[in-house]
Symmetry: D2
Subunit: 390 residues, 4 copies
């Protein structure tokens, strides 16, 4: 089983991750991981920090001569801005001269975290609660994703809406997706295509509207959320299981996505829209193609009974608007107990494109563990003798 931990504060010295359970002999490089970190930093509407950073990962263990050793892989992303934070985020010392934050931001865990952990400085919360953590989550999961790719399983994503700008007519993008997904690596091609858009929207006209709407939000001191679609191609039939509730892959996949900062909704395929239809419109009749059993549609989004059905997996995530507003909502100073404007800390106006890239990453462990449960194995060679890509 693959497991991973992340550590690190937003303005601390470094983000750190450990990935345990990767089979031996998988080719991986920091460059490969950095490309995903770069993708996570893109998108129209990001704040100033994205420019400072350009995250670079360092592999400290578990890889030798470009191949995994089977042993835990330690990753570090150093904070390039650390010199500005050495005092404020010092590990030692008493911090008596450092100003404390006492005004929580609605939508964030600022207030709750300080009550839960007994802090009088909200910085102690926001440093770990920050979505900066997802940089390391992406780094860790990229290794796991590479494992899937070598077994012919590819993950991609694109954005379906930003604020009220929505891809309502899917006809054009579905044509595109259909064309791409003729190849097993289809999801990857979708991702590449989406990478060309600043908002990861495959329909160019809608994309431009979305950019305009982010500009408007920024001018208003406001923020936007949106909905993204994650697609997995090349998935073998039979991953996950219906036999026990906690082994259902749909539950595991949606937990992974719901655990991303600001995600407040997840559906498999058109889950919510399908709830309004008749069964005959939703379920996927069987058919035969060249003597092989196939499906005539994919209303199930690739999952039936919590198990992959061999079709493309389709997941949607809904991201709430960014919680930090330049034109702030009301808050309470926890020290003075007075009503004040919520604090503003440098932030994005819209991060849906980034969220979509993060979602691609975080589902990789779920799929990889279901794959390993079925096929087992300690090394890429052993696994590949058992499982041949289609």
């Amino acid at each position: 089983m693959i497991r991973y931990f992340t550590a690190g504060e937003s303005h601390g010295q470094a983000l750190v991750g450990i990935v345990e359970g990767i089979p031996a002999g998988l080719s991986i490089s920091s460059e490969y991981i950095n490309h995903q970190l770069w993708r996570r930093q893109q998108g129209y509407g990001r704040g100033g920090r994205m420019k400072i950073e350009s995250d670079k990962v360092e592999i400290l263990s578990g890889v030798r001569f470009g191949k995994t050793l089977g042993s835990p892989i330690a990753l570090v992303v150093h904070n390039k801005d650390w010199h500005n934070w050495i005092e404020k985020m010092a590990v030692e010392g008493d911090g008596s001269k450092i100003e404390k934050i006492s005004i929580p931001r609605p939508g964030h865990v600022d207030y709750i975290g300080s009550v839960k952990y007994g802090f009088d400085d909200i910085r102690n919360v926001i440093e770990r609660a920050s979505a900066r953590e997802t940089a390391m989550r992406v780094a860790c999961c990229t290794i796991i994703r590479k494992f899937l790719e070598e077994n012919g399983i590819f993950i991609g994503s694109h954005v379906l809406s930003i604020g009220s700008v929505i891809v309502k007519n899917r006809m054009n993008i579905d044509k595109l997706i259909k064309r791409f997904t003729k190849a097993a690596c289809g999801a990857y091609k979708i991702a590449e295509e989406a990478d060309k858009s600043q908002v990861r929207i495959l329909d160019k006209a809608i994309g431009n509207k979305a950019i305009a709407s982010i500009k408007r939000a920024k001018k208003l001191g406001d923020t936007l959320g949106g909905v993204f679609e994650v697609i997995v191609t090349g998935v073998p039939l039979g991953l996950g299981s219906y036999v026990h509730y906690d082994r259902k892959l749909d539950g595991q996949l949606t937990q992974a996505i719901m655990s991303i900062h600001a995600v407040k909704g997840v559906e498999i395929g058109e889950g919510f829209a399908n709830a309004q239809k008749f069964g005959s419109q939703v379920h996927d009749a069987f058919g035969l193609k060249d003597g092989k059993i196939m499906r005539q549609s994919n209303g199930a989004g690739g999952l039936e009974g919590g198990v992959t059905n061999g079709e493309m997996i389709v997941l949607h995530g809904a991201m709430k608007p960014i919680s930090t507003l330049a034109n702030p909502l009301k808050s309470i100073d926890i020290k003075t107990k007075r009503v004040v404007d919520a604090r503003y800390e440098r932030s994005d106006v819209c991060a849906v494109p980034a969220c979509s890239v993060i979602a691609e990453a975080v589902i990789a462990p779920v799929l990889a563990n279901a794959f390993l449960e079925k096929f087992g194995g300690d090394s890429m060679r052993e696994i590949k003798t058992r499982y041949k890509k289609k």
Copy 2:
């Protein structure tokens, strides 16, 4: 930590469950559990089986003189129809005279399961994949729910839509909910109110339309899904944690609900709708009331940063239409490899009300474990000295 396992085939001798980790001294009775089993069997649109069954649980261990012992609690629900299935579902014997099922139903895991586990009889899949399993899940979780109730945490639910019949204007039901949730046990009152409707819809007119729409679907040999809302009241601030991705309560709650049969979407509060709004419309400004910090709204659905914020938790689940259609879709006979009509096995037309009751149950372990992580304790007495209900 509370853990539970369920076992049992749909037409097997019995469903069995074990719940491990319940503190000692909790009052519980089979009657109390049976009430929830009864609620799970209600709802307009259920098939014939619901009439046969009227599930009754038997407590085999872990409870003495009406109180839990701290030891694992074993539950059994005997199958009242077992005498009709003794031969078909025999544990011993070779089954050579029993007819095999070879036609999978779209939407079910029938085909996938038989490939995954190497069966030539689809009955081996459908017996465990059946939503009958949720009877035991509800039984197990009802004990855990009782634990929450004794600590002032209450769970309830109602239905928001069945097929295309939707509670579009929430004004009336929100008034109702607001009135009920003045009490800590508000969610329970909501549940009671919803129990009065055959479709668990709080708005009577919409409820009647929903019933009509189920009738129509039945006539068409078709099925319906819908959306339900689960509400938790009395939740203390600070359950769950933002510090590590797998400790986020939103992800855990989502997994629990998504693991229910036929659920294909989950959102926290109005997760998908909120993704279309501005941040200033979604986030919940702080205010003061009688000198205490409070919120002016609950756009967050009770969870910020994966942690409870002290407001009511609001979760929505989207259930797809039942997969078994009286007027069937096309399938393939896996034995003959010929295109045929999908098999019909006695089934419901709509089970959204039941699903909503099941969802109430399955989130209980998530909340109870987060509660125990914060407050610890081996017995109800020990826990209650630490945690006083508001």
Copy 3:
């Protein structure tokens, strides 16, 4: 991954178990399990209860026509003595007429358990703390053991000492073991041979001395413990892993055995004796046999670096003397706080042979999970195409 839960009080209605994760298509019967339950009940020095019981398991789910379904397997062992305990162990009622136990027995968890869980009746502790629970543990693990056997991995055991009667000279028994273990199922043959002895001692003369010593202990109102040896043959090289501390098989095997009632020591091979020797005397030089790499000895007990090395696994467990003494030690009445004699509850004088059989069982999940991690698979057929018995 295979997981299992047990439930049930010693004098409750039934013991219940659920085993989750067994691949589909494994042949299993209640008869097969009952044989292991019978073995667990043997041994000179057992108390009266063993005669009442003769445990019989009932399979309630997960098996159809003699083969596992991949779904959870529920097991029940009904308490044949239940009619005598219906009132004392009633699930409902208030128990006001039932006498409470207030005198804890040294060596048992009686006192600790009642403080931990806040009981005023020690019966609430002893019912679950009783070694009766191991009957269900053996039942559950026997299914898992059958899985190992079908993959050519066999587990057996025999007893090395009872009280101060010790197999000091291993020459004769080692000859026997060597002869048996030429076959892959060697461990099973050792178990069969040991089954012939009332004390599971392979050396007949020592066995007779052990029986005499148990008789003497009984006359004294005292009890005895001892040491047993568990052997696993047919183990493939490479189960477990050195890459992370919690994946080391030696640690996992040890935990399994140490979690049996009354076990207070575990060693791998001659762990404690080897600590007194030079490295050159302990480690196992490599050699060649018919061109294949082999070992010249098995000082490692089959495990190096927490991984199986292809040699026979050898584990020793030390069981303390039974805690319930007919001639009791001093105790304190927790109600009156007065010094009294410890309570006597029907018990064995010596249960080392049973403990040895239980140890055979409880290590099965550890081995099976390591096996599944390496070879994966959902059905016996799938697994057997990958892994061929030597």
Copy 4:
């Protein structure tokens, strides 16, 4: 729940660890951890490497101004010798010029690991399998240990035997232990006293004999193992549970110790010796002292039924002699399949004192998690209001 991962190869750039689940507000410093790393490096009989290293830990996250934040704590120990290994252990490159190791050492996992993971270079195994990993395990566990100490629970250790030199008469050291353990921090005092000996033996004369015996072993090109005793004082009654097999603290504690490199035996108290005695000699009668219930002895080693009984916990670990011999055993070159002398890689002659220090560390997570299960809590302040040190 506290969880921790370690990563890092013996001659890689760094060892890395992440500890997740530590409550907020715990005082910790790198200095405090370094002291334990220093203790781990002591002991007569260590190889050259101990002099190079003098491990220093760097805290990269989870601590601010000397206090934990509740967020994961990342630790790094840089390899001071890294400049000599940059090429041999490079993460990138193809390693084509780097010599491969093809001769496995008996007693190590060298051969098994290379077969399991499919390596043609044994270095890929030994780098992670090396006991160097325990430096990070100690670092991680020291933080957890600090958590215990602030709750009045102290861990210490001393050595009972090295090779055939054994503390046979415990009278003197037991007097010492009794004196120390009058204070709650008794175990810590024992550790301090043992720290004064190069072999951690409390009896000075035996200590000198042990040193002489290590010298002799070294001259012979041989190695030695031994037995150590770990003691925990200040443990509250009632940690762990008897209600389910995997919650028994004795099993968990012994797994932790058995997972240390080269440990091949673990007992609770005098587990193996007690197996030879009568029950009346082993079990601990109750008594009254100042009106409080107490024990008259500690044959149970502080654990009954897998639960702490309030007495001092006593654990023994048996370490096999170091596997790397200067005067090597026979091996096989896996490339040429020829019989050769096993490879010698710089190593210790005896590391029992270090092992004893490591054992102190690795049991801390087990105790801390049992403690948190009973008392819960997110911050040191919250926990201390619930649990007062005796």
